[in-house]
Symmetry: C2
Subunit: 581 residues, 2 copies
Amino acid sequence: MAEPPVSPAPPPAETPAAAPAAEGGEDGGVSKKAAKKAEAKAKKEAEKARRAAERAATAAASGSAAQTEDLAKDNYGQETHETKLSADLVEVNVKTLGDEHVGKSIKLRAWIQNARMQGAKMAFVELREEGNWSIQGIVAANPEGTPVSRQMVKWVGAINPESFVVVEAKVQKPLEPVKSCRVTNYELHITKCFVHAAAPTVLGMTLAAANRPVANFSDEEVPVEQEVEKLTIASAGETTGTPAASMLTHLDNIVMHKRSAVQQAIADIRGEMKELYRSYLRSHGFKEFEPPCLIGAASEGGANVFRMPYFEKEAFLAQSPQFYKQIEIAGGRKRVFSVGPVFRAENSNTPRHMTEFTGLDMEMEIKDDYREVVHVLEGVLFHIFRNIQERCPEEIALVRSVYPSEEFLLPEPGKEVRLTFAEGQKLLREEGPEEFRNVTDDEDMSTPQEKALGAIIRKKYNTDFYVLDKFPEGARPFYAKEDPANRKVTNAYDLFMRGQEICSGGQRIHDPVELEARIRTKGIDPTSPGIKEYVDIFKQAGVPAHGGGGIGLDRVVAWYLNLPSVHLAAFYPRTPKRLLP
Amino acid sequence: MAEPPVSPAPPPAETPAAAPAAEGGEDGGVSKKAAKKAEAKAKKEAEKARRAAERAATAAASGSAAQTEDLAKDNYGQETHETKLSADLVEVNVKTLGDEHVGKSIKLRAWIQNARMQGAKMAFVELREEGNWSIQGIVAANPEGTPVSRQMVKWVGAINPESFVVVEAKVQKPLEPVKSCRVTNYELHITKCFVHAAAPTVLGMTLAAANRPVANFSDEEVPVEQEVEKLTIASAGETTGTPAASMLTHLDNIVMHKRSAVQQAIADIRGEMKELYRSYLRSHGFKEFEPPCLIGAASEGGANVFRMPYFEKEAFLAQSPQFYKQIEIAGGRKRVFSVGPVFRAENSNTPRHMTEFTGLDMEMEIKDDYREVVHVLEGVLFHIFRNIQERCPEEIALVRSVYPSEEFLLPEPGKEVRLTFAEGQKLLREEGPEEFRNVTDDEDMSTPQEKALGAIIRKKYNTDFYVLDKFPEGARPFYAKEDPANRKVTNAYDLFMRGQEICSGGQRIHDPVELEARIRTKGIDPTSPGIKEYVDIFKQAGVPAHGGGGIGLDRVVAWYLNLPSVHLAAFYPRTPKRLLP
């Protein structure tokens, strides 16, 4: 196994500079093969440098004078647990740097985003703390060689990008605004610099590549040779740009993938959406509970379920917490919600599917009408959409700068769009594309139909978010409550964003006699494993009318931002072909 | 499959009363066998009642007059979607009932907790809305038979406990405080009563039994005959009480288990603790992320890991989110936390173990010293302990009334107890029981040792919560960072409640060279599956020093309340023998 290239040790005297800054710097190095080749080369050079350093050290130790004494030798190098900065330094955050810091010596812990020499006596570095919060650092040799020597400048200018450093520096105002960093009105005049953790000489994927839109989402491995060729062509055509990498390359270089500002912005938006979901429901009387992932029986016929040996038994992974949400209601909780993983063993390799995703589920007693549930689901999603824009305006703008999208349109309060399924089909017949002229009210909608309907609704009602209610009986599972006034349809609904389903729900049958009858109508044996346990819940004691819904968090994030794939919204996307990292 | 007994239809005339109130009512019926027998009997009676009702209806329809006309016949019965209460009723919650409601007609949806006749013209019911919020209802026949007839009284008095009803009633002040209900200063004079969802004639477990402390936590099935016998003996010896049921009976009757006030109180406390965990970390700059459950390689040697077929591969269930927390830090997030399920395929059948439990995990960059992490972990737990008492005083008191426990002792701020592992062993040697006189500083502690130390610390420092730091090298996994000043110990710690570990954590090795060396020292091949992927993270780019910890939520809840088993703290406990419900 290849040892990771270590950051160069500070040369004790005028030894040749250690490994140079990453070749290709910010505009290449996304293929494994190229990275390996470069790494080998870098290793050779590092080894050369190490030997030179050893020679020089030996020379110094044996008394033969080095060419120039390095008066700054204690001010840079590899950090050890004995490294000391000046006492009483203020540790700052790049984000909160202000005029009150100007002229003061501060301490900063950050990643070297870029380092370059400017002649022999000066080096510029970009120091990044979090997201895209970067600031320019300058290290300039003092004629006296203290605190900064020419050797120190050379060493700092050669630090590998994405190494983590600790610097001591004086905050100053630059002569003109710094264009290359997010912080434009301050710069850091570095007096000490220690490498806390070194990056390899060549990164598997550069930060610039990580910040480009993902080039393709195929889970199929592209042969390395072919990919290298593709990259070369892309680079040649686009001299100033950075070639985009595939999702596979991003996942193989997960650390750099996550260091990209765009992924951090997506993660922040996701986190806030989740919190908005919880806080809204909590403030509306919902209690959080935790459904299990490991279950003893596969419900809904056992299709698309992961199964595994479990001691002397077999266990399954829950496809939905619905059964458990309903037990909570049966168990006397008025309103419950959960946030957690759900699993689908579906061999679907599309930008909309994952085998593990995060479900935002809720269930509640119905007092008079199942539309009470629809209103809560609408309410929580409106709450998310209206507040996320206020909480994360910069993050949303940043994501849009990489993945351009039209603004997510919401209706005015009171003008929410709620159509019945039949009304939706009518719109498709009357205003949709040619091929949907003959859609009927009792067949389910296909994904292309849903998208076409989304486009019609956006044009007609100026909204990207709407509800489709009263799905036909045949399109819903056995537990869906039929509309007592029209048994051809159910009290079940889907919620859509940009023409794509993000939430499915409905009123459930709470009467065990009605439930068993309907299970039989659906051609299922009510005594089969999973089904029997489900029906039994409603026989244990009287269970009030209730309904709920399940929202796919990954989809909400992805479709809100109009990302090309739900995989970009997930922290660790799981697909039939991908379980790592 | 047995049909569930349906609530008796309102007799159109003086037919014999339908099924009587649950036999054994509040003090029996916890065994399956007894329940089945009783259910069969109830079915027969319900069928008899149905036939009688049919006869009477036919008689009425054919014009032959019923003995007495029931003038209240529209005011009670099985609710249908055409059932109507009076217009403009105020729907109330039992909890918020006040003097402003006295004299008014209100609507209430609730469970019948108990129903009994008082002579032929009056019935008392206990109506429970949520938790133990119950109120007394009275239904008294009016001489004119309207709105309440003798038939109606009889019918209401015979409703099966745990049926869900909708009532219309007038709020009144009782002549003297009602002792049997939580609401003592109001009662409801019922004018309409409809059964929305009927409970079976005999419950699998009564509410009273569900509210008793669980009798035993063995996962082994006790033969039904034996259990019935045991119950009979218990009932005989304890004439006024209700026999306690085993955990298996509770889980087989999950609906009644969850309807018990004690389980609802535990669930509320758990929910608030979880929220306190999140809000504290969010306010301290931590970002939430979601680690995957499905992973491609089993870390830590692959022991105790669930494995399953995954398309053409094999997948494992994550035992801990640690690998992923560290990727987040490597990926540039300063501080992260997660809340989610973790899995252990450990065949441990103890009150401290489950195969699936909820992990509260966190990880953060270390600036100067790993104790920064200890302080955050301490901080978040103090935050939980100090606030839960304020948020849930009634729930805690309620749990204590069923599972008595001493108050959970906390140190004064500034007097937190942090001992080194060596100091802990010294205390055990000097002040512990005889058998721990010779414990040494380089062996790990056993559970009995931990408990003994907890008792010493409680006595000495007046706290049930403390930290043990600097665990010996041999007691910690390969990723634990050694103390640079003393390589025999690690910068790793455990946190304890009442002498039991609830959190384990430490500083991780962030340098890949150091990490590989230590993996080899531990006798592990650094290129083995799971390990290689782990080490590679630190080679992708420079990763700053970091540390974290994982808290077991189930244990925090259980040990805070001093519950006899962690299974009581879980929503759906998973053990090697139990996957249902």
